[in-house]
């Protein structure tokens, strides 16, 4: 078989194939649910109810979507320039470290100054974490996929070291956790008595800012040009390496902001389970959004809904909540296939 690009992909195909991907994902999930001895329809009903069935459920979904918007944006920006950042997990944790270091009394500043200062420091630190692999890529030709993946493990061990060492909470009864950040460093809740916090608003602003940079600025144009064809971009006079450095700083910074948002908005302190794979799930979010920054918001809420809904369903129906991870991974594979099929014609022979 061979693939031929369709000269003009039809609008219908661009809608029908992704719908087919969703259907395929649901079909596979149904088989697994049946293997677990439950009925797919009632399970999916419980997932939807758990994700969006009440104000509480909906706000929980948005709370869970917040870090995914940040990591999804980080991946979308990097992948657009073909910088394969698989290290959003590490950058997110570095953001958490910076937030805790600066937010637990090191800087005696009032909240309106302290929070922006912490955010800037977070962005810078996260950016630097990705700058390393980016420099190794441009200077030494080391594949950034492997280095960013390996750094995830290094950073997590580093966090563990800090939490059992200098950042250890003396009142933590021996648990590896940091002190709580001061109230001046906390992001307020949006709805009283619910967990949704202003990190979500920052995430929306970030998504819009990234969209603006990618679509409306020279830097965004250069990043896209490098992503389409680095050689051609170089030939056209675009400083490819410099663009990749800037991409790394932005991407790492966005992922680190996710760590800031989780600590300052939700958890209050740093622990080893700050992230439940947000960095890796961010890849799925970015791909589902076809690397569109505004699409990342929708994709993150969708993916978060599956996770939150599956948690609630699991408690009620006894199907392991890992079904959410399976669905998200399946959705990634079926969606990239669907996008390809909507753009190419498959010819057998």
């Amino acid at each position: 078989m061979r693939l031929e690009p369709k000269p003009r992909p039809s609008k219908i195909a661009l809608i029908l194939y992704p719908l087919g991907a969703v259907a395929a994902t649901l079909l596979i999930a149904s088989l697994l649910v049946m293997a677990a001895g439950a009925s797919p329809l009632s399970v999916f009903g419980l997932v939807i109810k758990g994700a969006a069935g009440s104000q509480f459920a909906l706000l929980e979904t948005l709370t869970r979507a917040t870090p995914l918007i940040f990591t999804g944006l980080a991946v979308a920006v990097a992948f657009r320039a073909r910088l394969w950042n698989i290290g959003a997990e590490a950058q997110l944790y570095v953001g958490g470290i910076v937030t805790v270091v600066l937010g637990t009394g090191l800087l005696p500043l009032p909240a309106p100054i302290l929070i922006p200062v912490i955010m800037l420091a977070t962005i810078l630190a996260g950016g630097l974490v990705l700058l390393g692999p980016a420099i190794l890529k441009t200077r030494f030709g080391v594949d950034e996929v492997v280095t960013t993946l390996l750094l995830n493990f290094v950073v997590l061990l580093f966090v563990s070291m800090l939490l059992e060492g200098v950042l250890k909470d003396p009142m933590g009864l021996g648990w590896p956790q940091s002190q709580m950040v001061s109230t001046d460093a906390r992001l307020p809740r949006i709805v009283e008595g619910r967990r949704l916090h202003y990190g979500f608003v920052i995430a929306l602003v970030a998504a819009f800012a990234v969209w603006f940079v990618m679509k409306k600025t020279a830097l965004g144009y250069e990043m896209r040009a490098v992503g389409v064809n680095a050689e051609a971009a170089r030939f056209a006079g675009i400083p490819v390496n410099a663009v990749l450095m800037k991409t790394a700083l932005i991407s790492g910074g966005l992922a680190a902001l996710g760590g800031f948002s989780e600590v300052a908005g939700l958890k209050g302190n740093l622990t080893l389970d700050l992230s439940s794979g947000f960095g890796y799930t961010g890849i799925v979010v970015a791909m589902l959004a076809m690397l569109n920054p505004l699409g990342v918001v929708a994709a993150a809420i969708f993916v978060a809904g599956i996770f939150v809904g599956a948690d609630a369903m699991s408690r009620a129906a006894g199907v392991p909540s890992y079904i959410a991870e399976v669905m998200v991974a399946t959705a990634l594979l079926t969606m990239v296939t669907a996008i390809m099929l909507s753009r190419y014609k498959v010819r057998w022979r």
């Binding site: 061979r2 293997a35 190794l136 030494f140 492997v146 750094l151 070291m161 991870e325 998200v328 594979l333």
Partner: protein, 313 residues
């Protein structure tokens, strides 16, 4: 000096070979895929799936070698999905690979929870036992390290020899290497690049899964979450470090494992002064350093990560 004494203990070398074994299987698996032109980032997840498949087969009453075979089949199945999406469909090998890792890992955890719904500590199986090679295992230090290991460890070394022989001494190996270097030439010979690559990815994925199974069936005796712990990514680094050659990759895996075994023992000697996490970080940092050292003169397969489309040049 205690630091050097470690190197002369037999237990250190025994541990080094044991740590190397799963890496050898998985590194050979990745090497086959990449020599055919396909980067397989599904390795981490496939190792998780293999670890579980082998263990659960034995747990359900199968014998050990059946467990290894089931693990290999499960690996090949994930390889088939990977190869279908990346070769005929030509999707990004990065994205598909990460997707396969996420899928294989989550499917494994889901299945684990279905098989063992309410278990806090996973049940144990009777793993492979050490099999001492007569006479040879009596040699001091070298004997216990090389000739008193489990059959799976011996199989790991045999695998390297077989992979090297097939790649460099058979028409099949020539076709695989050519598919990764100059696919058009393969097509000109009337062979199917897509078919060769799909076969290579399936075979490679099967080896990755056996590497995972080594963990549950030889190194340990049960399955627990996070047990692969980045070994797959390290194997990808080892393939680069070994310049895509089986022999060099074996040396890399052995060096790496010796270093890993050394840092575990160093923790006991210097653990009071330096936090243990610093030692655990070293294998990952070492992999990055190794990549930096070899990357400049690495001659990777020229068609790596370029999906083959018939009639295109």
């Amino acid at each position: 000096m205690e630091f050097f004494d470690i190197l002369f203990t037999a237990s250190f070398w025994v541990a080094a070979i044991r740590i190397a074994s799963p890496l050898i299987f998985a590194t050979m698996g990745e090497l086959i895929c990449e020599r055919a032109g396909v980067l397989n980032l599904g390795i981490e997840g496939i190792m998780v799936a293999g670890a579980f498949a082998g263990w659960v087969t034995v747990y359900a009453g199968g014998d050990l070698w059946t467990g290894v075979a089931v693990a290999a089949l499960v690996g090949a199945a994930f390889g088939l999905v990977h190869a279908t999406l990346t070769e005929p469909f030509g999707l990004s090998q990065h994205v598909v690979g990460i997707g396969i890792t996420l899928l294989a890992t989550s499917l494994t955890y889901f299945t684990y929870r279905i098989v063992l719904p309410q278990v806090s500590s996973p049940p144990r199986i009777e793993p492979f036992r050490n099999w001492a090679v007569p006479y040879l295992s009596d040699i001091p230090v070298v004997g216990p390290a090389l000739f008193n290991q489990t059959p799976l460890t011996y199989l790991a070394f045999v695998t390297v020899a077989v992979v090297a022989w097939v790649l460099y001494r058979t028409p099949l190996g020539l076709a695989v290497r050519a598919a990764g270097e100059n696919p058009s030439a393969v097509e000109a010979q009337g062979l199917s690049v897509t078919g060769i690559r799909m076969g290579a990815v399936m075979a490679g994925s099967a080896l990755m899964a056996v590497g995972g199974a080594f963990l549950t069936m030889s190194a340990f005796n049960s399955f627990f979450f996070e047990m692969v712990n980045g070994r797959g990514w390290i194997c990808i680094a080892l393939v680069v470090f070994g310049s895509w050659r089986p022999g060099k990759a074996l040396v890399g895996a052995l060096l790496f494992a010796a270093f890993d075994a050394y840092q575990i023992r160093l923790q006991q000697v210097a653990g009071g002064i330096v936090p243990y996490q610093a030692f655990l970080m070293m294998p990952y940092l070492l992999s990055i350093v190794a990549l930096v050292l070899v990357a400049r003169r690495a001659s990777y397969p020229r068609a790596l990560m370029i999906p083959y489309q018939k009639g295109e040049r």
